[in-house]
């Protein structure tokens, strides 16, 4: 598929995977005020197509699209009533589907809130994203502890708290509950993806059967918050299992990292230096072992907010200028990087050595920092031999080096058949 000789492709040990996280005009709250921003276009298909096409020009593995079931807010659990920042957004799954036919290689991971949505609906939505993108769909699962979002559904209540209260017993209990529910959610979604075996559609004219019902399976999922019978209404998607990602931070409860260990193909984590990266990788790997998935691939992507300019002083000045516009210094759960593409490349390589397999960059200003990634950082990483020169696969799993998983039900059926055959031969 690639026109580049294979020796020019990065070897798997040193290769970096690169993604961008797309959110409105960019991650800095004043990003929309930059001359390159298109603040009146944020709700148009053209805006999103341009961003994702730019990311694809840079050969990135995938984009994630942020989402939430309430208005953006600087407050952790409530709306903040601000009118000087971007407010209002479109459903991320629909955005991903809208750009899918207009792109050809890049992976598409919309954000889905597990707390208030139906695993059955989301399973078929992401399966369908995989169909409309011919194998480039994925999903980033998120929980919502926002009180106002719960009130939009009226099915459960959430206490009001501040970010400083995160380690209080009540909030800890809430965190564990939400993340455990999200793990159940992912399990139900994954079972639904497998609930049709590959090749279940047989179109057997002789017997008049369109499907082989033996290849369709009830999933019979029962969890603390919901149960799902199955099978799905949508046949198994092209990738079998579209990759599932989640952002997770360190917590005394361990619940976020446990979700990665139990349920994810892709973990987004937020180390601020190589030492933290090493510690986080160790914690997540331990959760993975505990979940009995030690041998399975689980990519860990470091998240960084980036301000990129050819002159490092210019990047720092840009952040300051935006901070002044916003009226406060922008802070983030992720490390905020200001500097040149080459300095960022140094940092990524250093963090990469700590065990991260890729990076999800959050452009501070989408219109500025995304092209700086695709046209500045990417060529720099290519020069260093750690990034691809052409897309080497047509599916997201292919780009991430993840095999197409066997169907759990087909595998179980095969084992049962083997056992039966054994029984016959030994009898």
């Amino acid at each position: 598929m690639s026109s580049v000789p294979s020796s020019a492709l990065p070897s798997s040990s040193s290769a970096l995977h690169l993604a961008v996280a797309l959110d409105g005009a960019g991650w800095h709250p004043a990003a929309w005020r930059e001359p390159v921003a298109r603040p009146r276009d944020l709700l148009t298909a053209g805006y999103w197509t341009d961003l994702v096409t730019e990311a694809e020009r840079g050969l990135l593995d995938f984009v994630t699209i942020e989402d939430a079931l309430g208005l953006q807010s600087t407050h952790f659990t409530e709306p903040d009533g601000r009118t000087d920042q971007v407010r209002g957004r479109l459903d991320a799954v629909l955005i991903a589907a809208r750009v899918a036919p207009l792109t050809s290689h890049i992976g598409l991971l919309p954000t889905v809130v597990a707390t208030h949505t139906e695993p059955f609906h989301i399973s078929k939505a992401i399966a369908t994203l995989d169909y409309v993108s011919t194998g480039r769909g994925g999903v980033r699962i998120q929980v919502s502890a926002r009180r106002n979002e719960a009130a939009h559904f009226g099915r459960r209540t959430v206490p009001s708290f501040r970010i400083e209260d995160l380690e209080s017993p009540a909030v800890q209990e809430l965190t564990v509950d939400l993340f455990d529910e999200a793990a159940d959610y992912v399990e139900a979604v994954r079972r639904l993806w497998d609930s049709w075996e590959d090749g279940a559609e047989i179109r057997d004219v002789a017997t008049g059967r369109f499907v082989d019902r033996e290849k369709l399976h009830y999933i019979d999922f029962e969890g603390a918050h919901f149960s799902v019978k199955g099978p799905s209404i949508t046949p198994r998607p092209p990738q079998g299992q579209p990759p599932v990602g989640a952002l997770a931070h360190e917590s005394v409860t361990g619940a976020p990292f446990r979700l990665l260990g139990r349920s994810a193909d892709l973990g987004f984590v937020t180390p601020h230096d190589a030492g933290q990266a090493r510690a986080i990788v160790a914690s997540v790997r331990a959760e993975q072992d505990a979940a009995g998935r030690a041998g399975e691939p689980l990519h860990l992507f470091g998240d960084l907010v980036v301000f990129l300019d050819d002159d490092p002083a210019e990047a720092a000045a840009r952040k300051e200028r935006l901070d002044t516009l916003a009226g406060y210094p922008y802070t983030s759960d992720a490390r905020i990087f200001t500097g040149t593409p080459s300095q960022l490349a140094d940092l990524l390589q250093e963090l990469g050595e700590a065990g991260l397999t890729g990076f999800r960059l959050r452009p501070a200003v989408a219109g500025h920092d995304l092209p700086a990634i695709t046209r500045g950082l990417v060529p720099e990483l290519q020069r260093r031999g750690v990034f691809r020169h052409a897309y080497e696969a047509d599916t997201l799993r292919g780009l991430l080096g993840l095999a197409r998983p066997a169907n759990r039900y087909a595998a179980a059926a095969a084992v049962a058949a083997d056992a039966a055959a054994d029984a016959v031969t030994t009898a």
Partner: protein, 466 residues
Amino acid sequence: MSEPRKPLKQIHLAAHFPGVNNTTVWSDPQAGSHIEFSSFAHFARTAERAKFDFLFLAEGLRLREQGGKIYDLDVVGRPDTFTILSALAAVTERLGLTGTINSTFNEPYEVARQFASLDHLSDGRAAWNVVTSWDAFTGENFRRGGFLPQDERYSRAKEFLATANELFDSWHGDEIVADPATGTFLSDAKAGAFVHQGQHFDIEGQFNVPVSPQGRPVIFQAGDSEEGREFAAAGADAIFSRYATLKEGQAFYADVKGRLARHGRTHDQLLILPAATFVLGDTDADAAELAREVRRQQVSGATALKHLEFVWNRDLSAYDPDGPLPDIDPDLGEHTLARGRAQVRMYRDPLATAREWRELAAANKWSIRDLVIETGNRQAFVGSAETVARTIDEFVQADASDGFILVPHITPGGLDAFADTVVPLLQERGVFRTEYEGTTLRDHLGLDRPAARSGSAAHGERAVAS
């Protein structure tokens, strides 16, 4: 001829992607995928080439079962409605995009958000067919798990739609200022604010999708019962009906349009668009012959027996589909045999239906399969392109409908011949557009944009409410 002629009604046409029903002929060598995006893209492009008003997708949320087993004789499996429609918005420019979405197994905030997003991403082409399935069988796939007592499904549907409309109207269109110089993004910190307290929903907050190009998506309704008709007359823009014959169509049309005045609405605020299958041939005789073949492909012996079971509510697998009808009577009471099927609800008096069918079969010497072929899915329009164009026009001019939602029996190419041969004839007759006049689905359907509440009036309301 001296009398001034009534101006001709303009016909509305839409395309229903077939599949998951017994009109679909999947065994035909020309039948393609029902799930690959290329099929949907081909179908949508054909509909748009033909200047159709919209593409229509049905919904099903659980695989059907019969006799405790997953039904395997029809097409089963379909993509997610919102996702496929959003992707189709990328490969079309004007075609409306109508999705059937249930009001029982969803929540208003989420559905309103999805439709508002689709309307933005398609530049004003979204429509919602509000359906009301309620059964516990389907409910087993959802968090609520449960089912809704049948008599509550329309009360939930009504409140669901009303709530969604409150959310669609919660932004007025002038809130996004996005002025970098002053730093004002929103003119109103309370944009999207809503409070809804009712029997089914008790929710409040702020809707996070600003007003979409059409204000609200176009609303379709598919109910047929008394409550369904009232629901449609009160608040729908269009009805997707099952009456595609002249007499039944006229009766339904008169009934539903007659209800509008009571709801303070005018005759042209509700369009009646029946689902209609068609078979085209070079001549009427060719088409009739082809139609017979299609019916035999649609109704295998096994399919015929299963169809009979919808009425009999008994296992009839021991019967010969090429033999006579069962002389035992239907099992009355709760239908336990076929689950997840709309047809089961269609036959409200099984004993009467069985009697009628036996008489029909005896009089015509029909086998079980013959009977199902003859009485089952009617092909609405069978004939040459000239015949079909003329008949469609006559039906619409005679107020049997305002147009049709066409259901071809082959995916995805089943619309091609219609687009190439029937549409030009309708255009020649002056009853179908040759170009889209507008850009939104409301434009195509001749529907007004819902009255936008002015920002200041809305402020006043909120001030009163708070």
